[in-house]
């Protein structure tokens, strides 16, 4: 298994994803990729940064889990309101307080979204470090 990635997990009413990565920043990046991949029905690409637009983002949160949810919702917001789908993210964040992140995201303003995601939720939310890797479980309202 790759050291980073995501998987859709069965959930009755909505969509659940399991995300993993070797470090926290990569986990956040994988999370963004997961959402874009789902919204474009598998068309998310990370082949090259050529022709991509860049944005700077800053988020302040109550705690690390809240930071993840806000980050994912930011990705959804950009896609849904501006058609901007995140391909790459360079994040700077910390496990410790204050729970902020700064990110430079690169993506494209195409975008024919196929699937609609409404919001990442706290439902059954898990974010933890396990055996040297970071894992998260998030339910997304669709």
């Amino acid at each position: 298994m790759r050291d980073r990635g995501y998987q859709q997990v069965d959930h009755t009413a909505d969509l659940a994803i399991s995300i993993w990565a070797p470090d926290l920043e990569s986990l956040f990046e994988e999370g963004a990729f997961a959402l874009v991949d789902i919204m474009t029905e598998g068309a998310a690409r990370r082949d090259s940064t050529e022709g991509l637009d860049a944005r700077a983002l800053e988020i302040e949160a109550l705690d690390l889990e809240d930071l993840l949810i806000q980050w994912l919702n930011e990705v959804i917001y950009l896609a849904v309101t501006e058609g901007f789908t995140v391909a790459y993210a360079e994040l700077s964040l910390s496990e410790n307080t204050p729970h902020n992140l700064e990110a430079k995201v690169q993506g494209s303003e195409q975008s024919q979204l196929k699937g609609e995601l409404k919001s990442a939720t706290y439902h059954g939310l898990e974010l933890k470090k396990q055996d040297g890797a970071w894992r998260a479980f998030v339910v997304i309202d669709v």
Partner: protein
């Protein structure tokens, strides 16, 4: 799997005894058979969790269509004391004022049955539906702010509806207390392009007909007769409501901490009703409620003008009267009898519908003798029901009833089941035309993905909460 123990009260009522940190017992409306599947997710635990919230009155309630939600179960009802109680966004839901409205017509099934293919196409074109589909309205920010305060009334005054529509909408389509000043720019940005659009997932616009009448007096009062073509619209506050909910959770989490509210689940975050946080959320929620009313009003207009055009008749000649519009994700102030005395409470209904009994002053005059209409949509392949509120609802559930069927199967499983199947053709063979830009959405919404709404409605009827008035069968469905 929920470990909660139920105590049988009768064949339709199951108590969750008050234990541990619960402040009141739980009450679930279901049959023994339904409890088997209800137990398969954590929704019974969620009912017990809600019972832990401060100021909850009488019982933490769940309807027969209950299932796992965010904090509160879907199908959950809880009322809170105005002094000791709390307001919780999880008790309203992300899709604030997701709701249903029903139109009656002067058309008979025979008038439309050979036109379904063409008519459904016209309806599909007229109502923006699906992912990223934007509204045909071009609203300014000022106009949107008016929508947030005036709700359906704004649309009617702009020419998108009839003035007597307002009488037959819950809250007259205009929720008091809305304040656009507390709405973020993000929410406005999300809401502006989407007004008048259906949304995706389980939202729909459905042409159907009245197949069976159970209560002739109520059916007549509602203007429904056997064989009559009806139109049902199911939609909410779109991205606007989601943004409001998401933003409120953070504020409420902080408030829960500040006020020392012990949360069994983060998504039950709440603030005392009298607190600034609660009042702020209420003002924002009211904006979203009005947005959804305006949204359904706009789509009603689209349906009316499309059908008038299609049949070459004036709207009014086709009838297309609004029967009623109900909310199923909402929190509001109501007065209910508790221990024999009138008590002002904040009722949260999440995936539950108001169902006021005959005689209640909030039931429109024309329906006051028979009770408030309640629309309960089922899946697109079987049927939906119209009910009328009964005294049982006033006595036991803070005037509340069920809202739908509830999913039986995950979206992924449904998609798998639908793979390689001609799902559109299957429905067509049953006489149902489905229009959607997304096969994937329709696959997720196949009839077998849902529980049988008849089971849900039979419990509500049997328990005396609301009575079955008629059954509607789909003919054409526009899906997002």
């Amino acid at each position: 799997m929920s470990e909660i123990k139920f105590e049988k009260v009768d064949q339709y009522r199951w108590r969750i005894p008050q234990t541990g940190k619960m402040k009141v017992p739980g009450m679930v409306y279901a049959t023994k058979e339904m409890l088997k599947s209800i137990r398969m997710d954590e929704s019974p635990t969620q009912v017990a969790n809600v019972a832990q919230l401060p100021g909850i009155v009488s019982h933490s309630i769940a309807m027969p269509d209950m299932h796992w939600g965010y904090g509160f179960p879907i199908g959950g009802v809880a009322a809170f004391d105005e002094d000791e109680g709390v307001l919780s966004p999880g008790g309203v839901g992300y899709d604030i004022n997701c709701g249903v409205r029903l139109l009656s017509t002067n058309l008979d099934r025979a008038d439309v049955v050979d036109e379904l293919e063409a008519l459904s196409l016209d309806l599909h074109r007229a109502i923006p539906s699906g992912v990223g589909k934007k509204s045909k309205l071009k609203l300014s920010k000022d106009q949107l702010e008016k929508v947030l305060v005036q709700g359906a009334r704004f649309m009617v005054e702009e020419g998108y509806g009839r003035s007597d529509d307002l009488e037959v909408i819950e809250e007259r389509g205009e929720m008091d207390g809305a304040d656009p000043g507390v709405v973020s720019d993000r929410a406005m940005k999300r809401g502006l392009p989407q007004l008048g659009s259906l949304g995706s997932g389980n939202h729909f616009c459905e042409l159907g007909y009245v197949e069976e009448i159970y209560e002739p007096e109520a059916a007549e009062a509602f203007g429904l007769r056997k064989g009559m073509v009806t139109v049902m619209i199911h939609s909410g506050s779109r991205g606007f409501g989601y943004q409001i909910c998401d933003e409120s959770l953070r504020t409420m989490l902080k408030a829960s901490k500040e006020h020392g509210i012990d949360l069994p689940d983060r998504q039950l975050c709440a603030a005392p009703l009298k607190s600034e946080a609660a009042q702020r959320y209420f003002k924002a929620m009211a904006c979203a409620i009005n947005y959804a009313f305006a949204n359904r009003q706009m789509m009603t207009h689209s349906v009316r003008s499309t059908m008038a055009s299609f049949f070459g008749q004036r709207e009014q000649e086709l009838g297309l009267n609004l029967v009623y519009d109900v909310c199923h994700n909402i929190a509001k102030w109501e007065t209910h009898k508790v221990d024999g005395k009138d008590k002002r409470v904040c009722v949260h209904r999440k995936g539950a519908t108001r169902a006021f009994a005959p005689g209640h002053p909030d039931v429109p005059k024309r329906y006051r003798d028979v009770g408030q209409p309640v629309m309960v949509p089922g899946d697109m392949g079987r049927y939906s029901f119209v009910l009328a509120g009964r005294q049982g609802a006033m006595d036991e559930t803070f005037g509340s009833s069920c809202h739908g069927a509830g999913r039986a199967m995950s979206r992924a499983k449904a998609k798998k089941k639908a793979r390689d199947r001609p799902i559109f053709k299957e429905l067509q063979q049953k006489g149902i035309y489905v229009r959607s830009d997304s096969r994937a959405t329709v696959a997720e919404e196949i009839p077998e993905a849902y529980k049988d709404v008849m089971d849900v409605v039979d419990v509500i009827d049997g328990a005396g909460i609301a009575a079955k008035v008629c059954k509607l069968v789909p003919l054409a469905v526009v899906k997002g």
